[in-house]
């Protein structure tokens, strides 16, 4: 029995090409071995490394506690590096790695959809026209997620290249975009997988396997100009772009964080206040709160903490001069609004309660913690007013 040959029109560039349908419906013979190397190593390594990086970044972003931030940043940095490589490879890779081989062209997309609707059509060597749309949207989305993440990191956490340029308010705004885009990415990944399964069933070509081996059961399409990969040129370009990006990031990251207080030590404060509790960085409370605290030292959270008048005056002006209004860190913004019922207390501010909502009460009473006000029990950098997510280490033995 002769395999059925079906004429098929394909618009390649501006030319209509008649390509022959490959033989798939011959039950008597084993399937022919893959013939054409479609995905070069660059595309394959990019694809699977990107998957790993996206799994790491989204897994830590959606599920992990805050002190896993470094893992999230490793995932995000890897995504940015991979996107950079893919851009270079899109002009320097082999035939089907090149953007020119899967340029977005509305007529081709429409034709492809018509073929699907009418049950005609076979697999293509490179990305099919609809798959190409998905590729570009995914790449753009990953770029946007990385960019918004960088703004959030700079504004909210005061880390990374944008820390010196981004306010907390801007970081907060972009955080919403970062999260929405990340959810959008998950939806698109489901769409991507559905497309791969659908196209694999439709064409009989295991596309996931093809992304591993690089080979497909297709013939080169006449009219597509074959290109050799230029790994040397690509490596040079990547190294140059990477170096510029790295040096620029390091230079920017060295800027002092916008609104991160840098205080000269105040020995009187460390001695008088720090002997009973953490010498709370002044940016943890508003000027009004500090004024209230310093006016009521004889009944200071249930104890007498009176000071001589000169010391009290000195500390009051120092605290007010460096209160939360003068800083733009996350904690300064969170603790700036006090609870009207207890305006002196940091640990009843709505902001404090929000970020400690998942901490069980028993943990605060554990011997190694002792009280809600013992910030340094879990925040290793509490004395610096930074409160970096990476510096959170909840003590292990928490049972009384």
């Amino acid at each position: 029995m002769q395999p059925r040959a079906t004429a098929r029109l394909l618009l390649i560039g501006d030319r209509l090409v008649n390509i022959e349908r490959r033989s798939t419906d011959n039950p008597g013979r084993p399937p022919a071995p893959p013939t054409l190397l479609v995905w070069d190593w660059g595309v394959r390594v990019f694809h699977w490394a990107l998957l790993a990086a996206v799994l790491l970044a989204s897994g830590t972003g959606f599920l992990a506690p805050a002190n896993w931030l470094n893992a999230h940043l490793i995932g995000g940095t890897a995504i940015v590096a991979l996107l950079g490589f893919r851009l270079v490879w899109g002009w320097n890779g082999s035939t089907y790695a090149r953007f020119a081989s899967f340029a977005l062209r509305a007529p081709r997309i429409v034709m492809h959809l018509r073929e699907i609707a009418s049950g005609r059509g076979a697999g293509e060597p490179g990305h099919n026209p609809v798959g190409a749309v998905m590729v570009y949207v995914l790449l753009a989305l990953l770029g946007l997620i990385s960019l918004t993440g960088l703004v959030v990191l700079g504004g909210v956490v005061k880390q990374g290249p944008l820390a010196g340029l981004t306010s907390y308010a801007v970081g907060r705004q972009w955080r919403g975009a970062h999260e929405a885009l990340a959810i959008g990415l998950l939806v698109l990944i489901v769409g991507h997988l559905a497309g791969v399964v659908f196209e694999s069933l439709r064409t009989g070509e295991n596309l996931a396997l093809a992304m591993l081996t690089g080979r497909k059961h297709v013939r080169a399409v006449p009219g597509v100009v074959p290109h050799r990969a230029h790994p040397g040129r690509a490596a040079l370009l990547c190294a140059a772009i990477g170096l510029v990006a790295l040096l620029g990031s390091v230079r920017l990251a060295a800027l002092p964080g916008l609104g991160v207080p840098v205080l000269a030590p105040e020995p009187l404060y460390a001695r008088e206040c720090g002997s009973c509790h953490l010498a709370y960085p002044p940016s943890l409370a508003s000027a009004a709160s500090w004024t209230t605290v310093m006016a009521g030292l004889t009944d200071h959270f249930g104890e007498n903490a009176e000071l001589d008048a000169a010391s009290a005056a000195q500390l009051r002006s120092w605290l007010v001069a460096h209160a939360s209004e003068t800083a733009d860190t996350r904690v300064a913004n969170l603790m700036r609004v006090a609870d009207p019922a207890s305006p002196q207390r940091i640990t009843t501010t709505p902001g404090w309660r929000r970020v400690h909502g998942d901490v069980p009460e028993s943990l605060f009473r554990a011997p190694k913690v002792g009280a809600k006000g013992a910030c340094a029990a879990c925040h290793e950098d509490a004395a610096t007013a930074r409160f970096d997510p990476q510096a959170i280490a909840v003590p292990k033995e928490t049972n009384p």
């Binding site: 009973c276 953490l278 959270f301 104890e303 007498n304 002792g370 009280a371 006000g373």
Partner: protein
């Protein structure tokens, strides 16, 4: 007899037979409180380690409700570390465990002013301060 000399004699009489880790600075602080106690209480006959211990371990209802006793923060063993209600570790109170205690009068006065008010709801008398330190230097 000069008050300081009297105090020294009184101190020698009360503490001389008891174990004490007091150095010259602690002795000077105790002498100051002895002189004040002599003025405040005409019948003052020296400090007592036992009264100091009772003061340290006692429970009071006259102070602030969160701190009914010295032991609330300092634990009942003066040689052990304590913990403030805000979670900060407090060095041991016993002089043998923390040799820099009770050697500076201003420092002692500051903490007695704060903590006597918190626990007792009033200032401590010179005799109570001396009793307290006498107990702690014996530990």
């Amino acid at each position: 007899m000069k008050p300081a000399l009297l105090a020294a004699v009184v101190l020698a009489g009360t503490l001389g037979t008891l174990p004490s880790h007091a150095g010259p600075t602690q002795t000077a602080v105790l002498e100051t409180y002895a002189a004040q106690a002599k003025v405040a209480e005409p019948g003052f006959a020296g400090f007592s380690v036992e009264r100091g211990k009772a003061l340290f371990l006692g429970r009071f209802t006259t102070g602030k409700p969160d701190t009914p006793s010295c032991t609330t923060c300092h634990t009942t063993d003066p040689r052990k570390e304590g913990q403030t209600r805000a979670g900060k570790v407090i060095g041991p109170m016993a002089l043998s465990a923390k040799p820099d205690r009770y050697g500076v009068l201003a420092e002692a006065e500051k903490w007695f002013a704060r903590n006597c008010d918190s626990v007792l709801g009033r200032a401590c008398t010179p005799r109570e301060k001396g009793d307290f330190i006498s107990f702690m230097v014996s530990q």
